[in-house]
């Protein structure tokens, strides 16, 4: 399917005359850091209740840095900033990192530009798990997570495990069969989801809400449980950028380069699935981030995973934090709608502009 990309790893991109190729990653990293800082400040300062910016900054300095600032703000402002907005912004960033990084990994691993974190059944598995949780008359509360979160996490991991077994991804097999297996398993799970939704009666709204994704239920507790899982998976992936680069050349070439293809595939797949599962458990199914952010980065710096992975993580975090900010300004929109509405036109624009020399 995508043999055309082989051998292009470090080829100079024939477009983007704005900067010499060697400086582009640096410029992009600085832009990303600036965007992240802006998203953090705006995300905490803005919301559907107005808190003066001066109060916000003084409050953060007081609470986080321990500066001796005199308290001039109402207690409600402190609750809003520290207990509601801050964990929310940080959760959005963590989920953005996870989805963008998982997307970049799946795209490289499967050598398919349409791959995203949900391509091997994660989304359908998580959605079915979450929907089933609504029908079960069991109430679980574990460290800020309910039965829905736990089953969504489990469903995501299970779906990918099934696809992995069925497609014999562990062997040196055609990637097409993996994608098709993922599609078939996903379709089966989607049918189960549709049936569950049909039977769910009054819980329908709750399931629908989950399917569109939201950060309105974020809390410190959830973040403190989810973040270590995401960090672990991210470190594993970032540490294997070299393997991902080799796999981009094709399995045989990678094997000739001395790579243990089966093991590297399994580790990368496992780590990407783990962080995707953690992300969907924390925020529901948020589309588009994992598909588009890696492409955006790749358009500018090329497919080298050593640059692609960290920069994708950086931009995933700021993109999702901004999207969540937009989502909560008018009241409370599902963030999945916002990511698509902002992301799709921007992506189309970039594709047109850079169309000449783009490849995975």
């Amino acid at each position: 399917m995508s043999t055309r990309v082989a051998g292009r790893v470090d080829a100079a991109r024939p477009t983007v005359a704005l900067l010499p190729a060697s400086r582009r990653p640096v410029a992009l990293a600085l832009t990303g850091l600036l965007a992240l800082a802006t998203a953090l400040v705006l995300g905490v300062a803005l919301g559907n209740v107005a808190v003066p910016v001066a109060d916000t900054l003084a409050l953060l300095a007081h609470r986080l840095l321990g500066w001796p600032v005199s308290v001039t703000w109402p207690a409600s402002a402190e609750t809003i900033i520290v207990e509601l907005r801050l964990p929310r912004v940080l959760t959005a960033m963590a989920v953005g990192v996870a989805l963008a990084l998982a997307g970049a990994t799946f795209q490289g691993l499967l050598r398919n530009p349409l791959a995203d974190p949900y391509v091997l059944g994660t989304a359908s598995g998580a959605a079915l798990g979450a929907a089933l949780a609504m029908l079960l008359p069991i109430q679980v509360a574990l460290l800020g997570f309910g039965l829905m979160h736990l089953l969504a996490f489990g469903g995501a991991l299970l779906a990918v495990a099934v696809v992995y077994r069925l497609s014999r991804l562990g062997e040196l097999n055609s990637l097409t069969s993996v994608l098709l297996t993922g599609y078939a398993v996903g379709s089966l799970l989607a049918a189960g989801l549709a049936m569950t939704m049909y039977l769910s009666g009054s819980h329908l709204r709750q399931i629908f809400f989950y399917l569109l994704g939201s950060f309105s239920l974020s809390s410190w507790q959830q973040l403190l449980v989810g973040l270590p899982v995401i960090l672990l998976g991210c470190l594993v992936i970032l540490g294997r950028a070299r393997s991902l680069n080799a796999l981009l050349l094709g399995e045989e070439t990678a094997a000739h380069l001395g790579l243990n293809v089966r093991r590297e595939r399994l580790v990368l797949l496992g780590a990407a699935t783990l962080i995707t599962g953690a992300a969907v458990a924390m925020s529901g199914l948020i589309g588009f981030v994992g598909l588009v952010v890696p492409h955006l980065v790749r358009l500018v710096v090329g497919p080298n995973a050593r640059l692609l992975l960290p920069l994708s993580a950086l931009f995933g975090a700021s993109f999702l934090a901004f999207a969540d900010l937009v989502a909560r300004m008018p009241g409370e929109l599902p963030v999945g709608i916002v990511t698509a509405v902002i992301g799709a036109p921007f992506f189309l624009y970039l594709l047109r502009r850079y169309r000449a020399g783009y490849a995975l």
Partner: protein, 385 residues
Amino acid sequence: MVVLDFLREKGKGTMDSLSQAPRPLAGRGLSFARLGLLLALAGLFGCQPASPAAPTPAATVPPTPTASPAPTATVPPTETAAPASPTLIPEAAWPRTLVDDEGTTIELAEPPQRVISLSPANTEIVFALGAGDRLVGGTDFDDYPPEAAALPDVATFTGVLHEAVAGLEPDLVLAAGNNFTPADDIEYMRDFGITVLVVYAETVDEVLADIELIGHALGEDEAAAEMVSEMEGRIGAVEAATAAIGERPRVLYQIGSVPEIYAPADDSFLADMVGLAGGEPITTGSPTAFSISVEQLVAQDPEVIVLGDAAYGVCPAEVAARPGWSGMTAVRDGAIRPVSDIIVTRPGPRLAEGLAALALAIHPEADIEPPADLLALCAEGRAVR
């Protein structure tokens, strides 16, 4: 079931101008010119309850097209200025012409004997009027009185089962407006020649008017009048008791809490109830939205939180532990109290009891007789009894 009542609530308050003044039954008569327009509108916007109060007191019973055998059947228009009193309507007046809450005129040749109810509230009203033996079909969420559950179900969460309706050969179907009964289903039944009366109340006064409307349709006018006057007495007593306390705390009536927090919309039925129960309702700031952000709640700082979803397992301890809620006055004061949402939100005969329960949740010290046979809710909380 939260969502069922919630869906019924949804969209209420869009016609808030109507809810300002009590709407007597007389006000439901519409001039025919207006009616034509409304029917056209109803066709276009099936879900929108088209029931503007007629500005002038029109005839309670529009003259029937067929010659009426009894001259007494026509009610003199002058008598309708007073709030509706069904005694004005002669018992013998059959055939009857009624205008439902969506402005549709229906005709009943004789007292209906095979009645289908498409909402739990309508079912309760029919039973309370003593006409339960005339019901031949109901919904799968009828739960009160207990014998209502035994009725054949002809409507579920997803819609009306038309074959089941047709098979029961009803001479009157009592549907609920505002898409509780889907508008398409109502039209479909009417196309089959089935007589459908749509009721839809936006305020407590309109619930009372609906009870009289259903009573009139069934020929149980006297029972309806008696029930309404009893309910008015109870509502008046609740209002007096809460007025005597003098304070009107800011009240969050939590309709639901999964996945978001749901509170009454502006000018909605529930906001009306909270106001009557002696509280200042915290609303969503929009006449159509029912979700409210925690940020807004923190800023508005409720003094009392009433858990309308207590019957579905949401209890005070869990609410107090939610992130960001600990600073609210209601949480600090422990003023989080469960109520049974069905009697508070269901526009039926038990609504006055629901109002009493709500008033006691807001003002536990109020001199109000507690409602009978309440559910025991949230063992660890202070269940309203």
